[in-house]
């Protein structure tokens, strides 16, 4: 009994720095910020119930930002999933030089977006290279970054940057499938397509599911790319929830910031819960 108690104390001491830091910098101020959600005023604070939530949900800029973030999720996530799966399947072969290709595909992961965003501006700027080509053919030029195209330009930058991450996870998933299965299927006379559908796909579903969740979560973080591409006030099609929040830091609107943060936290928590319980319930069926 005494030894177990000592074990517990030792564990708590090891965990103390990170838990204390977590409490001071994240947990406690977050609880304070939840309190702000229901108040108004700076010096004389009064409770206003759900007024802040109502105000936020009615605000045009918040709605725009939320819709854009949702749209970005819906378009970029399936696209990056399929692309990275395709590349992982291509890389998962015994071709010569394959490891060099692997490194090349992972490389963008470490390249700071700020140092290559210039290329996107050279291509898509008002006086960019693409408009140069259009102009040479007497086609009317487009100010790409200040048009609805900006959304897809942002998707391209996001995919460029994040694809490698998913590729790594998919390759790991592919490698974890026992080779015997393919050999056994081969002996049974299963064709390539059949092997892919009956072995690769079912065994890749847990990985695919994880990549799916991570991609959703990462697409909430696309602000960095959007900011570097187009600054604090970009074209309205790439005005994301994070722009909304970032710009509210400037005018120090605690109530509004806290309320928006609270809503985003709740949304992500619900989403993650939903996805994981879905996986727990149906994940096994895919495999069997």
């Amino acid at each position: 009994m005494k030894i177990r108690h000592r074990e517990m104390v030792a564990g708590m001491i090891f965990a103390a720095p990170c838990i204390a830091g977590f409490a001071v910098f994240f947990a406690v101020p977050f609880i304070i910020s939840v309190f702000y959600c229901f108040t108004e005023g700076i010096s004389a604070i009064s409770f206003v119930g759900f007024d802040n939530f109502k105000g936020l949900l009615e605000s045009v800029s918040f709605r725009l930002a939320a819709m854009n973030t949702l749209k970005f999720n819906l378009i970029s996530v399936p696209f990056i999933l399929l692309l990275s799966l395709a590349i992982a399947l291509l890389l998962n072969s015994r071709l010569k030089y394959i490891s060099i290709f692997k490194s090349l595909f992972i490389l963008p992961l470490v390249i700071p977006v700020a140092s290559i965003v210039l290329v996107w501006q050279i291509l898509f700027g008002d006086y960019g290279a693409i408009n140069g080509i259009l102009n040479a053919f007497n086609i009317e030029t487009v100010d790409w970054l200040n048009s609805s195209w900006s959304f897809f330009i942002l998707v391209s930058l996001y995919v460029w940057k994040n694809c490698g991450y998913n590729i790594i996870l998919f390759i790991a998933g592919l490698n974890s499938i026992p080779l015997d299965y393919y050999e056994a299927a081969n002996i049974d006379g299963a064709g390539r397509l059949k092997r892919f559908l009956k072995i690769t796909v079912p065994y890749l579903i847990p990985t695919g599911f994880f990549v799916f969740i991570i991609s959703i979560i990462n697409s909430f973080k696309v602000f960095r790319e959007a900011y570097l591409l187009a600054g604090s006030y970009p074209h309205q099609d790439i005005y994301m929830l994070q722009h909304f929040m970032n710009n509210n830091f400037d005018n120090l609107n605690y109530q509004r910031l806290s309320t928006a943060a609270f809503l985003i936290v709740s949304l992500i928590v619900i989403l993650v819960f939903f996805l994981f319980s879905f996986e727990e319930r149906y994940g096994m069926n895919f495999r069997n």
Partner: protein, 289 residues
Amino acid sequence: MIVSRSKYKRVLQYILLLMLAAMLLFPIVLITANSFMDENEVISTYGMSGSDGTALDKDYAKIVFIPGKASLMQYYYALLREPTFLVMFWNSVILTAPIMLGQILVSSFGGYAFAKYRFPLRDQIFFLFIIVMLMPYQVTLVPNYILFNKMNMIGSYLAIILPGVFTTFGVFLLRQFIQGIPDEYSQAARVDGAGHLSIFFRVIMPQCKSGIASLAILSFVDNWNMVEQPLIFLRDSYKYPMSIFLSFINTSNPGIAFACGILYMLPAVLIFLYGEEYLIKGIQLSGIK
């Protein structure tokens, strides 16, 4: 494994791979090649606006892979003639290094505790850590901002460094790693009379090297790129790190933009070349539930 049997298929595979690689590498190659242009050629090729912000002769940008004449002028200006570049580079260093080191220290202890010890609320706290890890910066910056504003620390690097040290990702990653270390070694050491601290330093840490290397790389890549925190916490533009400086370089200093981009990505690329396997390992570890 699906082994391609026909030569035809193999060629097709290579062509696909080469096309994809060309697309992915295009931005990096273009920046690298153009970093060897001299300033005048940069401005004439890309029709970028001059330092006064007005374009003399707005011409469309051209994609040029081979500079007219190779020159190191951009590097010369960036490194020796243009103090802002070095200041911003140094800002990035003094923001990134303390976060990395602090995070490794805190996360090693924390990861060990969560992996190998039982204590009250352990799993609940760990669950909270994961939730926070998933949040976008703008969300976690709200509590940070409230705290640092109360403490009058907005504008100070500490407002970025301290929360950075305690980001929960490090604890999560090292916990995953340390869980994979078998208990036999620590039990043997315990039988020999080793205490908790000496087991941590003599048994766990030596086996944890590659996990720590993974965390170091992931933490470096993330913090070297930082954009969100400086925008919100720093008030003076001379305190900005490279990432923000580069985002307005093509209006402020277009002639040396490419060399600055290269110098900025260089540390990240070198670390990648040296530690690719740790990077991959780290990402795979974060994928194990």
